[in-house]
Symmetry: C2
Subunit: 287 residues, 2 copies
């Protein structure tokens, strides 16, 4: 399986709607069961999906994998592994074991990428916590390679540095990926997390083909909630087209995942939300 989508898929006719074959839906964007979401994506012409691990409590992973394949969808990524820093050796080992389980699930789904939300700071020790992240990723690299699943280090917005990710910039993810020196590690670029960074364009070039995923949404003003305040594309201040072109120019050609955590979007209902997502994707991301 490759995530690269050929430029040849662009239709010749200038009047045709822009193609959406790179569009992926992160399932946390909508409030619906996984199987309903799969069906709605297929009906809307969305051919990629990115589920969350906790959904396999609702639908056994084998059932989910079959339904996704039967609908003609591919899995852009699985959310999520990570959360490596912990106060004790035993807890850190347990976190690593959980990441191995996540890799098994990603492989069972045929997901090319496991997204890593790396974890927050332990004991006011930022440097030590970052080291725990790097050691955690190094520990699961053999399993990632054995399962054919890439590890996507996702820098999170610095407002999550305390509790979710001590990896806060794309360049930091790039540096870590280079030190780990494996084709099975790369970076996840989510516009919500990186748009503000004065170094983001340079970091995107540095990431290059090591960019494993690209996520879109928007930053709305005022920010109502750090976790669930993401906006629909076009509702905020991010120049999405600029960043999409930057990652593509740097060598990325894979799926473009819509990941919006916003109760208003969830309240729209599955099909109306998908309709708006497709419309805004064409208007603000493509071109």
């Amino acid at each position: 399986m490759t995530q690269t989508v050929g430029a040849g898929a662009v239709p010749e006719q200038s009047g045709a709607p822009a193609p959406i074959e790179r569009l992926s839906l992160n399932t946390a964007t909508v409030r619906a069961g996984l199987l309903d979401t799969v069906e709605a994506c297929a009906a809307a012409g969305v051919s990629w999906i990115a589920p969350w691990r906790q959904q396999f409590a609702e639908v056994p992973i084998g059932v989910a994998a079959k339904a996704i394949a039967a609908a003609g969808l591919q899995v852009s990524s699985l959310c999520r592994g990570g959360f490596f820093p912990a106060a004790t050796v035993g807890e850190r080992a347990a976190r690593i074991d959980d990441n191995r389980a996540a890799l098994d699930e990603a492989a069972a789904l045929g997901a090319e990428v496991l997204v890593l939300v790396c974890g927050g700071v332990v004991g006011r020790d930022l440097a030590g916590s970052r080291q725990m992240v790097e050691e955690g990723i190094a520990a699961i690299l053999p399993e990632a390679e054995a399962r054919g699943v890439k590890l996507g280090i996702e820098p999170l917005h610095p407002m999550f540095a305390a509790d979710r990710s001590v990896i806060t910039t794309l360049d930091q993810a790039n540096d870590m990926a280079r030190r780990l020196a494996s084709p099975w590690v790369g970076a996840v670029v989510d516009v919500y997390h990186v748009w503000w960074d004065p170094q983001v364009e340079d970091a995107i070039v540095r990431a290059g083909e090591r960019t494993l995923a690209f996520h879109v949404n928007d930053w709305v003003v005022p920010l109502v909630d750090v976790l669930n305040g993401r906006g629909m594309m076009g509702d905020g201040v991010i120049d999405l087209r600029h960043l999409r072109r930057a990652v593509d120019d740097a060598g990325y050609g894979g799926p473009i995942e819509v990941e919006i955590f916003n109760e208003n979007v969830r309240a729209m209902g599955l099909r109306p939300a998908l309709e708006l997502i497709v419309e805004r994707y064409r208007q603000t991301v493509l071109g």
Copy 2:
């Protein structure tokens, strides 16, 4: 006036309480009138204060300046100038005029530094908005020099990039200060805004003696409010002593300003809040 505090002021006796002669109170930390705050600072042995411009609607600036001097206090900085980006030439000129008025007020108070909260993004154009900031600061440099007031570029936490400051990292402030190439421009280091940055130690070294102010508070988990969720020193995850040592080792020796925006701290009342601030300052910042 100099803000550098000599190491000679450290008492010889090991049992004496750690000296607080560098401690400054940013008045937004407490909910009280400016004159009451001045009096409480003097009573608590706090010898620096950092007022906000809007307080001069309540107390005429000449009255404030006299009261501050009579209480034996010095003004570490005035909050605030900035907010340079705007959609039209006319509005940008009005913002620059307002910064000139702020410089007059800073000079009237004997404040060495005017803190610049540079302003958010206009029209989804981050690069253009950053250019407006640089042009705005360049425009007021002659007045800053004429009044003997330094301009402190304060990088704000990236969660404020959309609406408050397109300057989000200390290195970005450093770069801008270097391009402006004036002894009247430097950087303000606030731990809340910069603690997460993987480059912060290097950036502090680069800032060196161009660090014009150092602000302390804390980052508490969970973050209840982006604007008013700052914590009391010691209540959060920031290694304050590490950052204080870093700025001092890089050549800063000026006041250490406590700037906490938190309704719970304000609700404590002026004197109890000051008492806790002094205690936490000794426990978490000094040493």
